[in-house]
């Protein structure tokens, strides 16, 4: 089961080889009330302890696939199911220090049934989250 909130406790972790981390991951549930074609997602900005990692650079990991923004925008077949978590993969050489961090996610969802000029809907959530392993 997923945590009720967008940003999950578990899955906030460093990525890449131990000792030579390349970045970190933030696990989230789908920022929508229904399953979603990946092309309807327009990226995720992540902020950790005030440092901003822009949606243009971050990647989405879901199931066994990883998508950069350009791939996500064109992916009209693969979908994110309501019961699945995804993770936002963020580049940061060395990774993050173990400990408690202020983590913010701004997910950009596109709704065709919103007026065209405001159809990218920003969903923002923030929380303290604990990264466990260096």
């Amino acid at each position: 089961m997923l945590e009720h909130q967008l940003i999950q406790s578990t899955g906030f972790r460093n990525i890449g080889p131990v000792g030579a981390r390349t970045g970190f991951a933030v696990r989230i549930r789908i920022p929508n009330y229904h399953g979603t074609r990946l092309s309807q997602l327009d990226g995720f900005t992540v902020t950790v302890d005030g440092e901003v990692y822009g949606f243009e650079q971050n990647r989405l990991g879901i199931r066994d696939e990883v998508y950069v923004l350009a791939e996500m925008r064109e992916e009209t077949t693969a979908r994110w199911g309501l019961l699945e978590w995804g993770e936002i993969l963020v580049d940061k050489p060395g990774g993050l220090e173990p400990g408690i961090h202020k983590v913010e996610v701004l997910a950009r969802i596109r709704y065709s049934y919103f007026p065209p000029d405001v159809h990218v809907f920003p969903m923002h959530e923030a929380r303290l989250a604990t990264l466990c392993v260096a």
Binding site: H4, T36, S39, R79, G81, S112, P115, P116, H119
Partner: protein, 301 residues
């Protein structure tokens, strides 16, 4: 005198769904309210949508059977702006709708609500919607499904969007297309929460509909002949069984007066605090049935 049918939309439990509740739990919660119908979000409750596994299908039919719930409405979306740089063609949009109709039918649903893309701040649907639907009317007829776009706040009953759907029915003479009414259009007092957030002044300014668009309930009678399904949208029923936003007494009186005898499908959209929806839906089911009884006894005018 016709009597209403009562259902519950699994959308009522969103945020809880997959977090504190499985699909089977949703069936259990719904059946225990005394409701007889279940409404789902296709791309939501159907795992592996649009091609659920046979294991999932087996589970679906087992649940329908075990909890004795009738599949009512299947909510679908047409992702008009399929990518940032191009829209669906008519053929593609029609194909998406056809795929959903077949899936809905396979699962036993009788209604399908398509959510079309819009082109304006007045929420005019992309004009291609007529072609999507028209190309699928024969299929819908074969499958015994009624396609029913939703009249949802801020769109009122007296509006060119609603009229456009009615014109389509009149023009085609189809019996496989009708209106779904979301009772949020009758909301006459402001909401206090949106999702898990308390509403602040800025939100109120940008989303005036949060205060309620206050469609007069008796206007339901003007369009009732086209209405095939009602989502009983609500947000907050207090400890004395009073709804704080939707004026159910005149709404139920109008619905009953019209002779409508289809489903009222509970659609909770209040505070997304864990587990809150479960009891809110129970309260609404009690309230709606009490008011129908009062109407039948001549107590509701």
């Amino acid at each position: 005198m016709g009597s209403l049918q009562y259902g519950v939309s699994v959308y009522s439990y969103v945020n809880d769904y997959g977090s504190v509740m499985t699909l089977e739990d949703a069936f259990d919660h719904i059946a225990d309210t005394g409701a007889t119908g279940i409404e789902i979000l296709g791309e939501g409750q159907v795992e592996g949508y649009p091609e659920p596994s046979s294991a999932w299908l087996d589970q679906w039919f087992a649940l329908v059977d075990r909890y004795k719930l009738e599949p009512t409405n299947f909510c679908a979306w047409v992702d008009t702006r399929i990518t940032l740089t191009r829209n669906l063609t008519i053929a593609e949009g029609a194909a998406e709708l056809a795929r959903d109709l077949r899936l809905a039918h396979r699962l036993g649903f009788k209604f399908l609500r398509p959510k079309f893309g819009v082109t304006s701040h007045e929420l005019d649907p992309d004009p291609q919607w007529q072609a999507y639907v028209e190309r699928n009317l024969d299929l819908a007829h074969q499958l015994g499904i009624i396609i029913c776009p939703e009249i949802h706040a801020p769109t009122p009953i007296k509006h060119r969007v609603t009229q456009g759907y009615i014109d389509f029915i009149e023009r085609t003479g189809t019996r496989n297309f009708g209106l779904m009414i979301d009772t949020g259009i009758f909301q006459d007092r402001p909401l206090t929460h949106w999702g898990s957030h308390q509403i602040n002044d800025e939100m109120r300014e940008h989303m005036a509909f949060l205060n309620g668009i206050k469609v007069p309930p008796e206007q339901f009678l003007d369009i009732a002949q086209y209405v095939v399904f009602i989502q009983a949208k609500f947000h907050d029923i207090d400890d004395t069984l009073e709804d704080l936003n939707i004026p159910w007494r005149p709404v139920i009186a109008a619905i009953k007066r019209s002779g409508y005898s289809g489903y009222l499908s509970s659609e909770y959209e209040g505070l997304r605090s864990p587990w809150r929806a479960i009891d809110q839906v129970r309260r609404q089911q009690v309230l709606l049935r009490k008011l129908e009884r009062e109407y039948d006894l001549g107590l509701l005018a």
